[in-house]
């Protein structure tokens, strides 16, 4: 991103509404600026984008398939639809798959009532899971003195990986394996409590959208995440560069 280059403005429509945008912006950024809701789980302002959750899929006229709004740049004359019956169905389907894939038991979860996944399911009107639950046997790593990782609640959004790498600079977190075996890991798949790179800053816990990462000893529904720090930290890091 160069501050010197002249900023070019693009105009496009989102759900029929005309909006203006800088050429380096994504559809998601423009929509958010204009108060248009596009569901997301992996996206978090202040972190890089990965397009992992696919919830922000939108329809762009002329494009062959659906495009993820978080990584798609705006273009002149673009016609974007963010609300349609088809998108609703796909988004609910993605959420249902997330719920079916692991063991998301809201009623006994530490973030019950403060969970991004849960509130999105409510907002998008997900009433049932139409896929068979997988009930995988997944471990809980409580070896860290202050934090716990519960793989049963992880949706592999990689927010923890990004915040640890990009903001804290420790790069303790990573993702291991593929497909249903995919897991977030600390160091080289060592118990978190044994990690030498972890600074114990807790940013990963705060950005985690679900109860996968939580503070130890927090009881059911007691854990709410604090993310106010993120934009400030990002600003300070960028300002120093």
């Amino acid at each position: 991103m160069s501050a010197k280059a002249p900023v070019r403005v693009k105009t496009l429509t989102i759900d029929g509404r005309e909006v203006g945008a800088r050429e380096d912006q994504t559809i998601l950024e423009v929509a958010t600026e204009n108060g248009i809701f596009i569901p997301t789980l992996c996206d978090l302002p202040g972190l890089s984008t990965v397009g992992a959750c696919r919830l922000c899929l939108v329809e762009v006229k002329g494009a062959r398939g659906l495009l993820p709004a978080c990584v798609t740049r705006v273009a002149e004359g673009m016609e974007v639809a963010v609300n349609s019956e088809r998108l609703d169905r796909y988004r609910r389907g993605i959420l249902e798959l997330l719920f079916a894939e692991r063991n998301h038991v809201c009623s006994v979860c530490v973030v019950n009532g403060h969970c991004d996944l849960q509130s999105l399911a409510l907002r998008l009107g997900m009433t049932h899971v139409h896929f068979p639950y997988q009930y995988p046997r997944l471990p809980v790593d409580a070896s860290h003195e202050r934090f716990v990782v519960d793989h049963n609640r992880c949706i592999l959004c990689a927010r923890c990986v990004r915040v640890c790498d990009e903001i804290e600079g420790a790069h303790t977190w990573d993702i291991m394996s593929r497909g249903v075996d995919c897991r977030v890991i600390t160091d080289l798949a060592q118990p978190w409590g044994k990690s030498e790179s972890c600074t114990g800053c807790g940013k990963c816990v705060q950005v985690c959208p679900t109860g996968a990462l939580s503070e130890k000893g927090k009881s059911v529904a007691e854990m709410s995440k604090r993310r106010q720090f993120l934009p400030y930290l990002t600003l300070m890091r960028e300002g120093r560069r």
């Binding site: 009623s107 006994v108 530490v110 019950n112 471990p139 809980v140 790593d141 409580a142 070896s143 716990v148 519960d150 409590g193 130890k216 000893g217 927090k218 009881s219 059911v220 529904a221 007691e222």
Partner: protein, 474 residues
């Protein structure tokens, strides 16, 4: 003795399902009776690997009627794992919550589930023998019952945020202190609730004569009794030590620390039911069969430390020379306990430190094992957990009131069946009496009854060689 094997049909996975089978000899007399609980829950297994501080809420999901009892017993087990003494006011608040639960659950059992038998008659029309039938014929009593239960639930909500499955009780104490406004609201409503409790007691005592035959046969047999008693041997529901009493009213064992329960209580499984049977270990089975719950509690204690309940307790103990043996008197005991619960809540709320905001102790898992014992409405509830070094559960054992009472319930069914079943034909009145004897125990078949307030019950009548003669279900 019966030789045929009765197959338990696992279709009844729905809560609160049970089945009774009766075995007849060649002459058509009841030889043996079984009370089957046909559901399997598996809580002891699937909590393995979870963090211990999740246990109170996880375990409370066992039951929607008495989640508070599980919350309390589980949190106490977790306190032991934290190895802390929780702040005094936290214990006080948990105690109030537990008593509110006692009041609402007893009101449910007495008014909603059993009062139709008592008011409308054991042989009355089954279509009307429910709370709606009571509301039609005895509207004042039905209203009292609804009001009393509502009050108990209301206290739970005011204290813990919601009526069912609150997450307020946590390892180390509770999450929020009590507000002055909520204290005053509860105190204001207590006189009305106490009035209901007294009215109901007076009415029940005056009606007892009509149930002589039931009193004589409803699991009226010598057993031991077990429960918690307070420091002075007083009626106690939250803390205290276990006491065992024999049928003659003599203390068999006293001052047992909850953590040592395994030295005194053993469990055994049966091929015909998912419900385990507990017995007093030193005496073995079946000599060591004991009962828990309201009847047991009033039998084992030396007194109640509230004025009204104290009087009622003294009168109750006049029923028998030793311990009161008929399970029919569970109803009576339940009413005495409602009065006690209300008086005790009032006492506790008037404590000077009740608004103290120090209500939670913070610690990590310091012990590798913890036992929590509390009195649920139906009887003594034991939660026992073991954790690894990181605080993840490696093993859990729960002993629930209905398990303690299991053997006595079976005997009750046999006793009632032998007394009321004649020949090879079942009558509805007989069926209802068999149900009614089970109802006196207010069993928590994990732990619920159906919307119409009756157990989903199936009675099978079998001949000596296993032939099915008759089946009745409600």
């Amino acid at each position: 003795m019966p030789r045929q094997k009765i197959v338990i049909d696992p279709v009844t996975r729905i809560e609160g399902h049970s089945k009774i089978s009766l075995h007849l000899d060649e002459k058509g007399r009841v030889e043996e009776a079984y009370f089957h609980v046909t559901q399997f829950r598996g809580f002891e297994k699937f909590c393995e690997g979870r963090p211990f501080y999740e246990m109170p809420s996880l375990m409370a999901r066992i039951c929607g009627i008495c989640p508070v009892s599980h919350l309390v017993a589980s949190a106490k087990a977790c306190d032991a794992i934290l190895a802390v003494r929780i702040p005094e006011n936290a214990a006080r608040l948990r105690r109030i919550l537990n008593l509110a639960q006692l009041v609402q659950s007893h009101a449910l059992s007495f008014f909603y589930l059993s009062s139709p038998d008592l008011l409308l008659g054991m042989d009355s029309d089954p279509a009307k023998r429910n709370i709606f039938g009571v509301a039609e014929k005895f509207p004042a009593i039905a209203k009292d019952g609804v009001r009393l239960r509502q009050f108990g639930q209301q206290i739970i909500e005011w204290l813990a945020g919601k009526r069912i499955h609150p997450a307020w009780v946590v390892p180390g104490g509770v999450t929020e202190p009590l507000s002055a406004a909520n204290r005053d609201r509860i105190l204001e409503a207590i006189p009305e609730a106490l009035g209901i409790a007294q009215r109901t007691l007076d009415w029940f005592k005056s009606e007892m004569e009509r149930f002589r035959e039931e009193i004589r046969t409803f699991a009226n047999a010598p057993t031991l009794f077990m429960g918690l008693v307070g420091p002075n041997g007083n009626l106690e529901h939250y803390d205290g030590k276990l006491r065992f009493l024999d049928a003659g009213g003599h203390i068999v064992q006293d001052g047992v620390d909850g953590a040592d329960y395994a030295n005194y209580i053993a469990e055994m499984a049966h091929p015909w039911t998912y419900l385990k049977t507990s017995f007093y270990k030193p005496l073995g089975y079946p000599e060591g069969v004991y009962r828990v719950g309201p009847l047991a509690r009033l039998n084992i204690v030396d007194g109640c430390d509230t004025p009204r309940a104290s009087q009622e307790w003294a009168e109750f103990r006049e029923l028998d020379r030793g311990a009161v043996l008929s399970s029919f008197h569970y109803h009576y005991a339940r009413l005495v306990e409602i009065a006690f619960g209300l008086e005790k809540i009032e006492q506790l709320l008037n404590a000077p430190d009740i608004l103290d905001t120090n209500v939670r102790a913070i610690a990590n898992a310091n012990n590798s094992e913890g036992v929590g014992v509390a009195e649920a409405p139906r009887g003594t509830l034991i939660h026992h957990y073991k954790v690894d070094r990181d605080g993840l559960i490696t093993w859990a054992n729960l002993i629930i009131a209905t398990g303690h009472n299991h053997a006595a319930m079976n005997r009750g069914v046999l006793q009632v069946a032998r007394h009321f079943v004649r020949g090879n034909k079942l009558t509805e009145g007989m069926l209802n009496r068999v149900e009614a004897v089970i109802r006196t125990f207010d069993p928590c078949l994990s732990c619920s009854t159906h919307a119409d307030g009756r157990l989903a019950l199936e009675v099978q009548l079998r001949s000596h060689d296993g032939e099915l003669l008759d089946t009745q279900r409600n």
